[in-house]
């Protein structure tokens, strides 16, 4: 399955780029991520717990960053094995374009599943993948953006928003 979307993030392009390469950011943004270690150069190792329809599994996987053109584009390629649940793998072509103080992030995601995930979850996998991508980029956006002035969210939530930007700025 394939899906594409774009987001405008209220942060400059170098900040967004740095966030994309950070294991900590990835850990925070990948839904269900339990562990994320490694570096952009050597790749990341991840443990992700997810439930796809009736199948719940712990995926152990590798994430590689390929074709890096800082700070403009990168291809993120990942594959995770979920034991008896099967596997999931995919890639995302991510492009960044500066737009004033903001950055436009465009992505094309391609995902494949196999084994029990395909046997039991094929009907719902498209929706699932879209949900995962949406959640990832929403979290990613939240990690970078300052809280809105008029936002009245709980203090803890406010504190979380923009945490990466505060860290690097």
């Amino acid at each position: 399955m394939n899906l594409s979307d774009s987001r405008t993030i209220k942060a400059d392009i170098d900040t967004v780029w740095a966030a994309l390469l950070s294991a900590d950011v990835l850990k925070e943004c990948v839904p269900g991520c339990q562990e994320m270690t490694g570096s952009p150069e050597d790749g990341f190792q991840a443990v992700v717990v997810q439930k796809v329809g009736p199948v719940k599994a712990t995926f152990k996987g590798e994430v590689e960053l390929r074709e890096m053109q800082p700070p403009h584009s990168v291809k993120i390629v990942g594959a995770g094995k979920g034991g008896a649940a099967g596997f999931a793998k995919g890639g995302a072509d991510v492009r960044l374009d500066a737009d004033g103080d903001s950055t436009v992030l465009q992505y094309d995601v391609e995902a494949k599943v196999g084994g029990k995930l395909a046997q039991l979850g094929s009907r719902i996998i498209d929706g699932f993948a879209k949900k995962m991508a949406d959640e990832f980029f929403t979290r990613f956006q939240n990690a970078l953006e300052e809280p809105d002035e008029d936002e009245t969210e709980a203090e803890e939530e406010t504190a979380r928003k923009g945490w990466f930007k505060r860290l690097v700025s």
Binding site: A84, G86, G114, G115, K116, A118, Q119, L120, S122, R123
Partner: protein, 788 residues
């Protein structure tokens, strides 16, 4: 007046008492002292190279006995194929090795790679998670036509291509058929797919094996339709165990439909592992495993051409079929698209020239083999659909076109090498038209129209070759086994009778119908007779149940053995009554001397046989037990006319089957109620194929329909009340009961009738460009056809 007992009576199925009260004893009910549990680790990719398998962590896990991989099976044979097809150039088919566990490569999702054997199933499953398997994925081979192109990725690197064989039948007729088609008044062409199916017996497969180190005896309990064949294949070809050291038991089996004919890797694994770990080993398939490891059915892609003269007389028929074999050759796979398919292409019609071409192709999918009907549904579907299309093109009523071409004289030798012994196709057609109130159809169609629905009627006339099969013939055709059947009739001292049959019952009701035959012949109560099957330790070598062969071949063997019993019993009776053997008559369980009032009861004779105090010991041996092997002289040829009436919702494309009528000629009938049940089951599966069932793979070779969430089974509300008749009887001429077999007919005749009915409904509504829709006829496909 219906009979109460014996041949022709609707005796209630005695086995149902235990099935319906939960007392059936299935393989999974068998638990052996100290057994370990096997959990199979299966490939989750369609095609790949196995780089490494690391079992070290798993072997240290709690409860783990051993983790097996292909390395443990060095020197062990592969899972054998039981039929070798010779192609149209005289070369034998390409036959790849089918290892018990994948060696070097995985070739379909579900291909077993490693097995954990542990104290409990949960420990085995946990340890399986710790087995590290590194596989490099390869491009999967999925589309059959692409698979045959030059340079295509190969499923088996050691074969020259993905082509198993290119079969032509009858090859000598090829040019004549081509010429006849070229010169014909009209040729109707139809391209179609026969959709891939999963058999889905209610009981998944199970194997439990034990090894007795004190005697070197192995016992395997398995869900099989033919335990003797499993003993032969597994003993001789896989594990090298001689028959006298291997007992195979198939106890109550909850449905087979073909998928339990074959010898599977899991059976060989458990038997092998039981010795290796020194304790019994049990494997129970999950439903998910069944979807990706039970042999699938059908999966043909066909182009068929029918040439006619101006009056609609059939002149020639040519077919071009690609048949999917899957990744390995299942036990009987090569025979299905060839000898069980090409030989039926004449159908009920006197087409003088026929040429059938079949290319069998390896793909990265689950192996494909016989499924209820096995080749004959594929033959019937394409033939009846092309006849239906031809009728429209020629402007001749489809019933009339069939009648013009019906074979009417018997025996009839077809141009595809079989000889039909009997049949009366006009009689079954007449019966069908009466049963289905064909005359009232237009009125019903007008009624539907008023309600905004499209009504259609479809007809199919089928023939099948059953009673499989004459051994000398199938031997010439490449079978690596004989296809006779055996029976031992053991009369006990008090007169009760144990019949050991090589046929296997997994829903067919043999325990009832077979007993009716013997009861009828001797004249004793059916309750005095037990039918024993499914245990190589109890009965003589048998070939099992498939191809609607049980009553025609197994029943005939039982008749022959019972005749021997009666002959011997008459000798004993003659001695007891001091009469001449020729004057002895057996009636209602008593022996009499013709023309006298002398009589001796069955029980007195049987007792004399075992207590031979007053007995002709100089002439005959004591005891009363006889065995017969019966090898049929020909196939049997059941036939019938099927009619389907549907309503299509023009808004949604949903098809509702309103009525289904089946007029069959099964020859003589032993138990009408059981026959009716067999037809009902066959119709449900045929309508399931035509309406809802479909096994789907994605472009990566992932099995998408791997559960009942995505593989739709027919349900009661998909089916109408069936209208079934089998009063048109032309008895088989060459077996002693005059029977033809009824197990598969429903699944053979129904799909074309249903599809033709839907096409008829659409045509009547003005969709004249819709001449065919591929099965299953789901609402979206029918809707798309209407909008095209």
């Amino acid at each position: 007046m219906p009979k109460d007992e014996g041949i022709g009576a609707s005796s209630k199925r005695r086995e149902d008492l235990r099935f319906l009260t939960g007392k059936g004893k299935y393989t999974d009910d068998i638990n052996l002292q100290g057994q370990a549990y096997a959990y199979f680790i299966r490939s989750d990719v369609a095609h790949g190279t196995i780089n490494s398998i690391d079992t070290s962590a798993a072997e240290k896990m709690p409860g783990v006995e051993k983790v097996f991989t292909a390395a443990d099976f060095e020197g062990v044979g592969g899972v054998p194929c039981g039929w070798q097809v010779t192609d149209r150039f005289g070369e034998v088919m390409q036959e790849p090795k089918h290892p018990v566990l994948a060696e070097g490569k995985v070739r379909h999702v579900g291909d077993p790679i490693a097995v954990v054997v542990a104290d409990s199933l949960s420990e085995a499953r946990d340890a399986a998670e710790a087995v590290e398997i590194d596989i490099t994925e390869l491009e999967p081979v999925l589309n059959m036509k692409d698979a045959l192109k030059d340079g295509a990725t190969k499923v088996h690197d050691d074969l020259t291509s993905n082509l198993c064989y290119d079969w032509g039948f009858v090859e000598e007729n090829r040019d004549a058929v081509d010429a006849a088609i070229k010169g014909a008044h009209h040729v109707t062409t139809l391209e179609l797919k026969n959709n891939r199916l999963v058999a889905n017996p209610m009981e998944p497969r199970v194997a439990v094996a034990e090894f007795d180190s004190s005697t070197d005896d192995y016992t395997l309990y398995t869900t099989s339709q033919n335990p003797h064949v499993i003993r032969l294949l597994m003993g001789a070809f896989v594990l090298g165990i001689p028959e006298h050291k291997l007992r195979v038991v198939a106890p109550d089996v909850g449905g087979g439909f073909g998928a339990k004919i074959y010898h599977y890797a899991e059976e060989a694994f458990c038997t092998f592992a039981a010795k290796a770990v020194g304790r019994p080993v049990k494997w129970t398939s999950s439903r998910s495993e069944a979807f990706m490891s039970d042999a699938h059915g059908r999966d043909h892609v066909t182009k068929i051409e029918l040439a006619m003269d101006k009056d609609g007389q059939f002149l020639a028929l040519r077919t071009d079929t690609h048949a999917n074999m899957g990744a390995y050759l299942s036990t009987f796979a090569p025979s299905i698209p060839t000898w069980l398919h090409g030989t039926l292409m004449a159908g009920n019609y006197k087409t003088p020239l026929i040429y059938v071409n079949v290319k069998a192709v390896f793909t990265n999918t689950v192996p494909v083999d016989a499924y209820r009907g096995a080749g004959r549904p594929e033959a019937t579907f394409q033939l009846e659909r092309v006849v239906d299309k031809a009728a429209r093109e020629m402007g001749i009523d489809p019933i009339e076109l069939r009648r013009r071409n019906f074979i009417t004289e018997f025996p009839y030798a077809t141009p595809v090498a079989v000889e039909y012994d009997t049949g009366d196709y006009h009689a079954t057609m007449d019966k069908l038209l009466e049963m289905s109130d064909h005359a009232g159809f237009e009125k019903r169609a007008a009624e539907s129209k008023k309600n905004g629905k499209l009504r259609g009627f479809g007809i199919a006339h089928y023939i099948e070759a059953c009673g499989i099969a004459p051994s000398n013939l199938v031997g010439q055709l490449g079978a690596r086994a004989g296809l006779y059947e055996s029976a031992t009739v053991r009369v006990n001292a008090t007169g009760s009778i144990s019949v050991m049959t090589g046929s296997h019952s997994h829903g067919q009701g043999h325990e009832t119908s077979f007993a009716q035959v013997v009861a009828d012949m001797i004249g004793v109560d059916e309750a005095q007779i037990d039918i024993i099957h499914g245990d190589t330790g109890r009965g003589p070598m048998g070939m099992g149940t498939y191809g609607s062969r049980s009553i025609a071949v197994g029943g005939s063997a039982m008749v022959r053995a019972t005749e021997k019993i009666i002959n011997k019993a008459k000798k004993i009776a003659a001695h007891l009554m001091e009469a001449s053997e020729g004057d002895i008559e057996l009636k209602d369980g008593a022996f009499t001397v013709a023309g006298t009032d002398k009589s001796v009861a069955w029980g007195d004779v049987t007792l004399a046989a075992y207590v031979p105090h007053n007995y002709p010991l100089e002439d005959i041996e004591p005891g009363l037990e006889e065995t017969a092997f019966y090898d049929p002289a020909n196939f049997t040829y059941p036939s019938g006319a099927y009619g389907c009436e549907v309503e299509v919702d023009p808004e949604t494309g949903k098809v509702t089957v309103l009525a289904f009528s089946a007029a069959d000629d099964f020859g003589n009938i032993i138990n009408p109620m059981i026959v009716e049940g067999q037809v009902h089951g066959g119709l449900a599966q045929g309508i399931g194929q035509a309406l809802v069932e479909n096994c789907a793979y994605d472009e990566n070779g992932q099995l998408l329909s791997g559960s009942y969430m995505d593989y739709t089974m027919p349900r009661a509300d998909d089916l109408p009340m069936f209208n079934v008749d089998h009063s048109s009887i032309t008895p088989c001429t060459h077996n002693p009961l005059g029977v033809k077999g009824c197990g598969e007919a429903g699944a053979i005749g129904s799909p074309p009738a249903l599809v033709s009915a839907v096409v008829d409904a659409l045509q009547r509504a003005g969709h004249t460009d819709v001449t065919h829709i591929d099965m299953p006829l789901t609402p979206d496909r029918v809707w798309a056809a209407m909008k095209s």
